[in-house]
Amino acid sequence: MSKKWFNSDFNKLVRYDLFRMKRTKDFWNLFLIAFILYLVCGYVFLKVDISIVSKNGNSLNSLIELEKKENSTIEDLLRGYTETYEYSTDIASYSDYDKVKLLWGEGIYYNESFAVFFSTCYRLTIHLLMIAIFIPLFVENEYSVGFYKNLLNSIRRRYLPILSKFVVGFIYSLIWHVFMGICTIVVKLFYTGRIKWTMNKQCWIYFLVSFIITYAFVCVCLAVSEIFHRKSISLIFCITFSLGLLSLPISVVDTLINSVYPNSDFRITRYLLNEIAAKYYVGIISEFVNRAVVVSIVCIVISVALSVIINLRRDYR
């Protein structure tokens, strides 16, 4: 049974796609670029942030000394400098998103835990951008060099090469999540020399749901690439989507809807995957989490179904 599974067409295709991914230069280059971006972001959020606090009359060294002396943490010592601190951790809500952003410049991130630093400083924007670049290149490369012919030449069930990409996309999302976690640890240690491992239920929910969001985004990018079969179109769409530029025209539509139905609370932008990814952090209200999960699952199902249906009877010319 296991040998039969190992030699199945689907498994062969998954192994082929994984080998191809591993051998693609872009795959490694994007990790390198992302790491540099994480380092830069880390510098801004940790070094610059704490330096602003120092300028306000609190040198970092004095804070660290005070921390040792009073058997306290920098986090507690800084608590006095801000009233909005609490929003960054447990009780922050979606509507308080702007207040959370205000925390930057108050030195809070310096002593933030791994999970909170991961979610509030980096959010999902960097790795979604990297995914938006990689997926179209990965898919379109196969079509442009003609290797796809070789797959069709050996497999009659045309949906299998498409489905295998969604499986590889799942593994790719997982790799990015782990990579982002490692980067968070490295950057935190590099700039602060300390890391706090406080992990509560909300943190675990965050990691799980942010992974689902990431995979949903991968699926959307895969679907766009599989449907258009044009590198330029797919790249432009995926990058603008990841950067939130697609939200601009959609927010215009929202405004129009609001002008027609002034009492309606409905906003399309709330259901956009990139908007959800950008606003999601540890401790956000459960309504947001539920919405994130539902939107992600809908995106995954629609992406897979559309890609398979459109390519089922499509000729490779």
Binding site: L13, Y16, V145, G146, N153, R156
Partner: protein, 302 residues
């Protein structure tokens, strides 16, 4: 076991209401090298793409070693090089072959890949990236890729296009070797008809998506050989004379026309001999026909 490796039944492809391949019925014998001849746009590549599963037929079926075209088994023993070699330019020959082997579920270790590369004359490429390969090297690697799955049937679309004379000769020798030593049946198309003539055992001429002639090498050779054509109403007198002159390779196409396939340069002497015997010769002409002339005649409807 059938003599035919591949049979197609009314295979048809329609693109946007245009019939590109029209009810093609082809029979490819096991162990043959089958040449598909046709102009650009005649439907050769589309036909090849259909039988290799790259595109789906609009109607009709094909049968490969008894397996219906809808099954994976029908494709599992087919190797193909269609239009251009499908290679990742940033990878080495080793990685490209490895990738195809994984996709086909074939065990392909370094030793086997090295042997494949050696077979197509690329034994010394090492880790060189494909983007640094010449066109000829890519074509050879394309053939090596087609051989990864150890196919019984090789489909090659214009494999010698763009190769220098030495490259053409090498590919020809390779294909003959694969056919003779490994028993691989080959379907090949090319615009270089004289080169094709040195290779193939069977032919089909395709025009506007239709097969307009299917013949063996012998049949085609007889149609293409240089000949003396004699038109006379005294045919009963002519035959003993030419046999007495030692001519054995001749045929009567009808009761007034005789074609002689030897001593073509001696048409004048043969004419003098017939006249000397008092035979009325209405006309005598020499026809020089190679495959290209024959092909052009056929597609012009002559």
């Amino acid at each position: 076991m059938s003599d035919f490796l591949l049979t197609t039944e009314n295979l048809t492809k329609v693109y946007a209401k245009k019939v590109v391949v029209d009810n093609v019925n082809l029979h490819i014998k096991r162990g043959s090298i089958y040449g598909l001849i046709g102009r650009n746009g005649a439907g050769k590549t589309t036909f090849m793409k259909m039988i290799t599963g790259v595109i789906l037929q609009s109607s009709g079926t094909f049968n490969f070693e008894g397996f219906e075209c809808t099954t994976n088994e029908a494709l599992s023993h087919v190797g193909a090089l269609i239009e251009y070699p499908a290679l990742y330019p940033d990878l080495s020959a080793y990685d490209n072959i490895k990738l195809k082997a994984i996709a086909y579920g074939v065990d392909c270790d370094k030793k086997k890949i090295a042997a494949l590369l050696h077979k197509v004359g690329l034994g010394d490429v090492n880790d060189k990236k494909i983007r640094k390969y010449s066109y000829g090297m890519r074509q050879r690697l394309g053939i090596a890729m087609a051989l990864v799955s150890e196919p019984d049937f090789l489909v090659l679309d214009e494999p010698i296009n763009g190769l220098d004379p030495q490259g053409i000769a090498e590919v020809r020798e390779l294909l003959i070797k694969l056919n003779k030593e490994n028993g691989i049946t080959i379907l090949i198309s090319s615009h270089i008809l004289e080169e094709l003539a040195k290779l193939v055992t069977d032919y089909a001429i395709i025009e506007n998506g239709k097969i307009i002639e299917e013949s063996t090498r012998e049949e085609l050779q007889s149609k293409c050989t240089n000949r003396i054509t004699i038109l006379s109403s005294d045919m009963s007198k002519i035959l003993p004379v030419i046999e007495a002159a030692g001519i054995t390779k001749y045929s009567m196409t009808d009761n007034r026309t005789l074609e002689i396939f030897e001593r073509v340069d001696e048409a004048g002497e043969i004419n003098a001999l017939l006249v000397k015997q008092g035979i009325a010769v209405e006309s005598i002409s020499v026809t020089k026909k190679d495959l290209e002339t024959y092909f052009l005649d056929i597609i012009r409807g002559n």
